[in-house]
Symmetry: D3
């Protein structure tokens, strides 16, 4: 299985030692993003992966490329152009103190400024079975929106499986009207086979009526001929935190049991879930096992530093088998 | 609002990576103390703050001054003299293993050896609305005791609001008799308007009878014409830890609900509470909101590294609004 | 009391900042092993300790020796020969993510390749009251097996107290038949006075019938004239983890209450328990106090970084007295 | 003496341990820039300093403000608006391997996007004796150019001393024509009293004829009624590196002796020189002493980590007195 | 150009902060070796590279593979088997204090224990233009010797360019007779086209008469039909250190000028030279330029941390063009 | 050979990464002092060593004791009492920027406050061949002066070899008159056999006439029946730094050749020289070899981090044999 992801790679600066920015000027930098996180996890599950993005043509872009390779993601489809990457700072949380993410400007990045005509999608799709597109590209710039849609269309026409993650962020769309964003998503969705999102994406962004999940998901998947619709969410009950997910397929909603969370670094939890779901679909596991696997992958990812999951299937199965009660592997 | 605090600034050496002193020779140093912690927090709530203390006239004192500035505390009222600062080592705890604090000698510090005549209290009080005095000065040396009392007296006479924190530590007074210490505190209290302390301070140090809180606090505040008496404490119930506080004012005790603790670094919890209370009093919030705010500030501070809280009002309100259940701020 | 331990000292490489090996190339190295851990703890309880092992005759061995001295273990009985130490990597866990230990080859270490004839056991035993032998030596190489047995025999004949820890690891004995290993342990046990192990060691390795503990331990101790048989284990109940232990002596099983665990670094929990038990036996405390002490030492050790416990008796008693509820020692 | 500097504050990410970006993801972040560096040094020489710039209105901007305060720079004139800071990465060099600086996009920073009308220059100039303007503002955006010129004009009209640093960077002006840039600089120069730059700035940017320095500087200073023109440069001779500088005043060029360099971190050498020159001018030292002081400050700064010099006058005089041969101060 | 290297990948543990092993237990780990270093450099010069080696089938091997990918080396030809990697410790030097390397046992590594029959050389050679073999394989174990010779033979027969690096280490051959080692090298050399070594390798290992270089190299290359013979060496003159190299080709010796060294970390200097020479040969540069490039690459590598050079052609040419006098690249 | 040293052990806080105190709050702490440094070096040369000092009876003192053991110094003669250790901060230098040492108060340390009657000198001297006393004890407090003199007297009377190091520091004696200090040193010297100091100690402190060295040393040694008088010093010539030393014995001055310095951390250079001289005297090497060895030990120590030399004889001889030109030991 050969997976290509399209989307922005960003620099993440994490303040060391669980401190806040004003407390500590020691950082670690890593290269992250929805596509990066997803491919990192899929690569550790044994698939061939490559990222289609634009990195700066300088030592920063070289570093990012070396990070991607380290995660197991091929650098063969990277484009080097421009001079900047979007970036954000992470201050890790502890108990009642939440993890905090602060973004720098991301619209002047190499990725956001690269013209759609610069891509060679035919070459990028050669040998690829599955294409994953992160919805954030629909919010960023004209360049990224056009590229995402062009790629999705071409992949769809070439009979590639097209996955799409809503990843809708209100904060990124303060200047885009609801109607504009709705239309962009609608255009994208007609090319997609597997979609990650939430009930709220359908009702609030696409204006579906607030019927029950069954009816809602069924109508959505029918409208866009989507085979699989999946999503995860977090619960708070009796001062404890849980994580759970669902897959809708062919008229039926499958739901996972909720699993306890013990968070070290929360970012990327949805990407870890998505890569688990994709693995189950690729391997044709039944939906229950797939959800168990996807939730486990995400619970482990949230108990680990950094966005990009690097667990093997064996790691995830060990967790499932031990009910999360194993505290030492020798 | 312009606040001046008087008290010792100490060097805190924290062993890295949650290790103990014998395990790790990597430390971080920070400049702390009741006055420092309180002003750091008040400065982040938007007030003008300055510390009146004596720092060594060498690179150590310069570093401490730069630390204070970084926390938002003015260095304009600092005195540079002598060559030493008191210091202590912190070994962070984990679960059943308690955090451990070990003091070096603090009586030969620049602050402790500086003569009361060296201060220019009139100049120090210029433009100041509120003066905060840490009670530890009453235990250290003749110099610090005289300076604390002289400053309190002069501030009181100039109609400044005088805050005082008992901060009574048995370990610092092994060589001072109960009567001597009682008398010093009594002298100080006559100049004060807002006092931080505990029931035990009144009964054990000032020899009040062990009546109920209402009666006890009423008598105490009446005796010394104190407007506000406030304090915090920690509870253990069913293997869980909680933090709560009270404010006594004008015949009535207001009490907070207890909030769960998840401790990363406990030191300074009382100072975080005190700065929250002062903020509520400055802003004339009702007592319930004030206590909620003060407890929240302290719970966040205990979930953070280092003594000196650096939360903004927005940070504290976010915590209150989310019931502490938010684990990511984007 | 003068204790000599015999066994392998290994290099432990711990990945920094709770990360996994692929995430972080910053490590800390420490010198550990059953004998090292046990003696470190006993040394901090005030006993004279020395390790009998073979370290490389190069800067690596010198570093290991300096680590041992730092832990309070005498380097007077160390032998320097060869060039390698066994090593393993530790990736710390967090909540659902288990701590993970990965061993490098350990059979070509200086310890494993050193011939039994190279030891001067008579000299090593001079002045020693108690000898501790780690059972792993029976699994490693012919050299280590012969040395362990020769030392045990000679110590026994010279009326030293001989302690032995089963420490049986299936993973180390994939190439040794059950019968071979059983015979080796049987030979060793005839020289021993105090034995650490588990019910499973008796039934699975020594083929005792699976009767109840009382009968089983009684038979085992009778067969080999063992005075004390002790062990610890971990429990999972209602999503919480506990630690508990037992001592069998003279027909009676004494059992500790279970204590909550909050794990920072689990490795060495059994060694911390064993050193606590030995201390109780040396000091002739009653068994209840001994178990309380041993469990407390291990609970603290598991809440600390690294294998080798460095708690003093005062530290352990503080924990016992506070019920583990103390979160700050000043 | 009260100095206000206007210019961009940037985030500097320095790769740890003299490694390159691909080798190490551990960074330290600091807040730097021509104005920051200059004021840091002047503040350590005892002057009151404040920076007029725009920082993001989020935790990144708060961190930058705390860095500035730590350096001794007042945060009273900072404006918080927008969400980004310009940034660059530094890979330190070693011997033949040069230090390498890579910029991210800086045109979308809070500073670059802030409209000139948002400033209150009158308030900013209150109480100020000297204004320093960094020429980079002329190259960045319309906003920064307009603000720089408006401030210079107003300061000039209010009889403040106006200092200006050419800081002309070809790489920042790939899209601006020579004529456009020349005109901008000419406009600025008519408001200035003290100018830092080089011979090349005059001949290449301002199109002065390539006459000898004396004639060139004289004409330049006459044309714009400039009192002091100063600059520094580095020399390579016999495999060794030297640093030297000049001041032109009233028809005469004063030149320093060259001093040996031993570089730890080169960035900011010109700012260290400039703050030394300004100090000499403020203190009315003779030009020889001023140059000796300025060169010494810069040589020390280049032997230190980070851009912002923090040497006191005593530190600089010690270096001068010892001829740089002192290797230990006790 | 597609290059395959065969050889051992080792773990390098570098003590942090220029300290010695007894002084600091903080290490960084990296994956190195002649093949790794060479391919890292060639990959950064733009070639496709892959390493043929055996890594442990566990998290250690996974980490090593991720390190290789990060360096730009393909992991497609890696074999995962066994459980260990050879390792060594590095204590960096400073001036008169030399850098010190201490090896652990390397004969029980996955690479050394992997049987020749486990390799599929045909598949490994598919698509490959050039094969590089490190001579250390001839000294380690029967397994590695057989694999190196079999690969060389097969590559030679398939008309691949075969490069070979003598890399003869006396310390690795204490148990192999001169005659045995000579025979092994003689067997290998008959398959080779490009050879890296020194005069001493020819005279001392292969027993060539000590004639002048011209005669010696000519005879050697004729005997084994070698196209290119190249090597580097270091000089000490007047308390300074220099680095220089040569290439022999077709009857002529080409020699570089010596370049100054300023060493940060010396290991891998020969590999950096070799990758520079190969690049010149691949690109058909003239020999003078090739040597200049190879020496520059090595001088830069010795001024950088770690074994594996990551300089681009642009980096190396910048150094050459600036005569090593550039101390800042913006 | 069994050596006992008497003197203060201090905490040294070294700022990380060659930064200054205002730049970096990351420190490493180590336990140092003349006695500590000397014994560390002698212990690494193979001698039995123990320190007689007073450490705090708390975790700080325990940490210091563990540091001493790590250096190879016995903790058997340590006294635990009081709560403080003297401390100083070190900011490492670079080229023209000198290393800077800033002391905190040291007069209230456990060592300085411990009464002479608390020592059991008889027990401390049991089994000891050589006693080393650091002259700083004569400057600190009445307690330390009395203890130093009492120990020297008793050792002398028991025919131990008594070594003494002048270590006279003007800064420590601002409140002691010349006459008082002279008398103290005179008293001490009558018990000594081997003395470390400088020409200036004799002329300025002891008021010897400024005759030539030969006459001066002869008179001094005769007056106090001193067998060996030795010292080291640093030279600056042509911008380079050198280190050299001398031994006076029985009418003759032996002088070393000067050796180049390349300083990483200068502190402790005299102690490294002294331990080298003592080793030569213990081993009865000729004076030339002894001086070569002592200078080499000190040159290596100055090229290493921290005060306490940990070089073996082999390390020192390697340096001597390679003329300091070896840059890699494998």
């Amino acid at each position: 299985m050969n997976i290509l992801a399209f989307g922005e790679a960003m620099l993440r600066f994490t303040v060391a030692d669980k401190m806040m920015l004003e407390q500590n000027n020691h950082l670690t930098v890593s290269t992250v993003g929805t596509g990066v996180n997803l491919l990192s996890s899929l690569s550790h599950f044994g698939y061939d992966t490559a990222l289609l993005t634009v990195l700066p043509n300088n030592p920063i872009g070289k570093m990012a490329a070396s990070d991607l390779r380290k995660l197991g993601i091929s650098d063969k489809k990277l484009i080097f152009d421009g001079r900047s990457m979007g970036s954000f700072f992470v201050e890790l949380g502890h108990g009642p103190r939440p993890e905090r993410v602060t973004y720098q400007d991301r619209l002047s990045s190499s990725f956001c400024e690269f013209n759609v005509n610069g891509y060679n999608f035919e070459k990028a799709l050669a040998g690829v079975d599955v294409v994953h597109i992160c919805g954030i590209a629909l919010s960023l710039t004209k360049n990224t929106r056009e590229a995402a849609l062009a790629l999705a269309k071409q992949a769809h026409e070439n009979d590639k499986v097209v996955c799409f993650d809503f990843n809708y962020r209100v904060s990124l769309n303060e200047e885009n009207s609801h109607e504009v964003m709705k239309k962009r998503y609608q255009e994208m969705l007609q090319y997609t086979d597997i979609v990650f999102g939430s009930r709220r994406d359908l009702t609030d962004l696409l204006d579906y009526p607030k019927s029950d999940d069954q009816e809602l998901f069924q109508q959505f998947c029918k409208d866009y001929q989507i085979s699989f619709f999946a999503g995860s969410k977090r619960l708070f009950k009796d001062d404890k935190k849980y994580f759970e997910g669902f897959i809708y397929h062919s008229g039926k909603i499958y739901e996972s049991a909720p699993r306890d969370l013990n968070i070290l670094d929360r970012i990327g939890s949805g990407d870890a879930f998505a890569s688990g779901v994709l693995t189950g679909l690729f391997e044709k596991w039944d939906f229950e096992d797939t959800l168990k696997f996807a939730i486990a992958n995400s619970v482990l990812a949230q108990a680990s530093m950094n966005d990009s999951p690097i667990f093997t299937e064996e790691d995830v199965f060990n967790y499932i088998d031990s009910q999360g009660n194993n505290d030492l592997i020798r």
